[in-house]
């Protein structure tokens, strides 16, 4: 079964607040993410993963009456943003939760675990066998 693990981060100043971290904290965080993702690849569970550009770059787009794109301006600061996601193929929901918990504990300021919320959603699949 496949799950999408979405890492939501508060938008901060359009940068999730990480620009205020000490260099060694940033380095530890980036190192953790790399190791974490390559670990999923090595266990044969990783289907895909992407990190997204900071919300400062984000736009909300909708179609105008003549179907041309209209883009909204800056988002409210309090909003949480999708920072990145993983799609994993695992044997059970519990395994997906376990992976999410590992990601949640990524190191932040001063190396303390961030404990950020990871949204876990099952990817839709085909219907089961009818008996």
């Amino acid at each position: 079964m496949k799950f999408m693990l979405m890492m939501n981060a508060p938008s901060g100043n359009g940068d999730w607040g990480i620009s205020k971290w000490a260099p060694e904290d940033l380095k530890a965080h980036i190192g953790f993410m790399k190791t974490f993702t390559s670990g999923l690849a090595e266990s044969g569970e990783l289907v895909g993963a992407e990190g997204l550009a900071m919300p400062a770059q984000a736009k909300l787009v909708r179609a105008s009456k003549d179907r041309r794109p209209i883009t909204d301006g800056v988002f409210p600061e309090s909003k949480e943003f999708l920072a990145g996601y993983w799609i994993v193929d695992v044997d059970s929901p519990d395994r997906a939760y376990q992976i999410a918990a590992e990601a949640s504990a990524a190191p932040g300021k001063g190396g303390a675990p961030l404990n950020m919320p990871i949204e876990v959603r099952e990817v839709m699949s085909a219907p089961p066998v009818e008996v």
């Binding site: 266990s43 289907v47 695992v90 085909a126 219907p127 066998v129 009818e130 008996v131």
Partner: protein
């Protein structure tokens, strides 16, 4: 139809020989992982050379020779690397071996040892120390002879992910020290159950994905049936092996009628039965009838018997529900699976009326394993509809639609809710 044709092709021959060749090479070197790599290389060499140069006199012997050479090369270079010595590598073009090496084999006849090799390999790939997804991947590659790329496509994961999964599985087997031999008498029943489970998982993966564009994946059902046939040939007296094969045949027979033109789900009672594969039904019914008459009865046989009752009904109205109810009663006694109890409630609803079915569902509400499962809502909705309680039926169809993780199933359930709420 995706069912593999029995006609001769190099590919069919290679896939048939894979487990025998792999078994022989493991037997010689004792290193599953290295043997598997060597056999993959030998298969590749054969796929390239045979169509050009003609079939060797003894294809199996040819493959074993080439694979064994690759393993030797590999082990040699491994130990060389370990010793930090520089050794000139062997010329890779050496794989073009003379065509007639080894003892000529009689096509279609296997020695006892060769048969055992296939069986031992299957037991090994379905070892309980592996997670089920690893066992599935390894079985498809080592016993089924599928390439990593094919398996990855079938499971919709990147090839590198599948390669890692297979390599980890081989590593697990290596480090768990499972010997390349038949399970002991004590282990045998449990290990066979694991093998059957893996085959059924492969079948389901293919069967349930026969929706939309993923045609590649339906091949998995054919592959599971092919492996099931091979296993049944090796163990003709194991009644559950025959039961699983019959179950797969009888289920797969309905596949062409399961989906509408837009990929929508068509439930059993609305299917166009003229689309069912009569040849598969005849084979499955014959198999399950002989098996039930002779062997010890098990869950796969009972499920196959139920599938046979459905498949033999000319219309859904002709379905022998009392017999299905009796079979689910037996199955319920044999297995603690709440899904069985759920199906038992459906059958009771068909025989004794929807209220009887709803009564049985009440006892299932307390089962934690079913808590929040969409199927209990879907079944309740259906029974409520038949009982004439349309508002409640709509509510449960919607609840089921919110919970299912399958797109065609969600679409089906939402359509049922919409149909009833318009009328209500």
């Amino acid at each position: 139809m995706t069912r593999r044709s029995p006609e001769f092709t190099h590919e069919n021959l290679l896939r048939e020989l894979t487990p025998q060749v792999l078994g022989a090479v493991i037997r010689r070197f004792g290193d599953f992982s290295a043997a598997e790599d060597g056999v993959q290389e030998a298969l590749l060499a054969a796929a390239l050379q045979w169509p050009k140069e003609g079939l060797p006199e003894n294809p199996r012997g040819w493959l074993i020779q080439v694979a064994a050479r690759r393993v030797t090369d590999h082990l040699r270079s491994e130990s060389a690397r370990r010793r930090r010595e520089t050794v000139a590598t062997t010329d890779p073009s050496q794989s073009a071996l003379p065509a007639s090496i080894g003892v000529p084999s009689l096509a279609g006849f296997l020695s006892r040892e060769e048969e055992d090799d296939t069986l031992v390999l299957l037991f090994m790939c379905c070892h309980p120390s592996l997670t089920s997804s690893s066992a599935v991947a390894l079985t498809l590659r080592a016993v089924g002879g599928l390439t990593t790329a094919e398996i990855a496509r079938a499971f919709l994961v990147p090839e590198s992910t599948m390669a890692q999964r297979i390599s980890r599985a081989k590593q697990t087997i290596k480090s768990s020290g499972v010997p390349f031999s038949m399970p002991t008498r004590d282990e045998r029943a449990e290990r066979l159950t694991a093998v059957l489970h893996v085959l059924y998982l492969i079948f389901n993966e293919g069967y349930t994905s026969s929706f939309g564009k993923s045609l590649q994946r339906t091949e998995l059902s054919s592959e599971a049936i092919r492996l099931g046939r091979a296993l049944h040939q090796l163990l003709p007296d194991e009644s559950e092996v025959a039961g699983l094969l019959a179950l797969m045949l009888l289920t797969d027979a309905r596949r062409p009628a399961r989906t509408g033109p837009d990929g929508e789900l068509i439930p059993l009672d609305k299917q166009d039965r003229s689309l069912w594969d009569q040849r598969a039904i005849t084979e499955g019914v014959a198999l399950i009838s002989t098996t039930l008459a002779n062997g010890a009865i098990g869950p796969y046989q009972l499920q196959a018997a139920i599938a046979a009752v459905h498949d033999e009904a000319k219309t859904s109205g002709d379905t022998d529900w009392p017999q299905i109810l009796a079979l689910y009663g037996l199955l319920k006694r044999m297995s603690d699976n709440p899904m069985v109890a759920l199906n038992h409630a459906i059958a009771a609803g068909m025989v004794h009326g929807p209220r009887a079915g709803l009564e049985l569902l009440k006892t299932l509400d307390a089962d934690e394993r079913l808590a929040g499962h969409y199927r209990i809502d879907a079944v309740r909705a259906h029974l409520l509809e038949r009982a004439g309680d349309l508002d409640a039926a709509v509510e449960h169809y919607r609840a089921a639609a919110n919970r299912t993780t399958s797109i065609p199933e969600r679409d089906y359930l939402l359509t049922q809710a919409a149909r009833l709420s318009r009328r209500a």
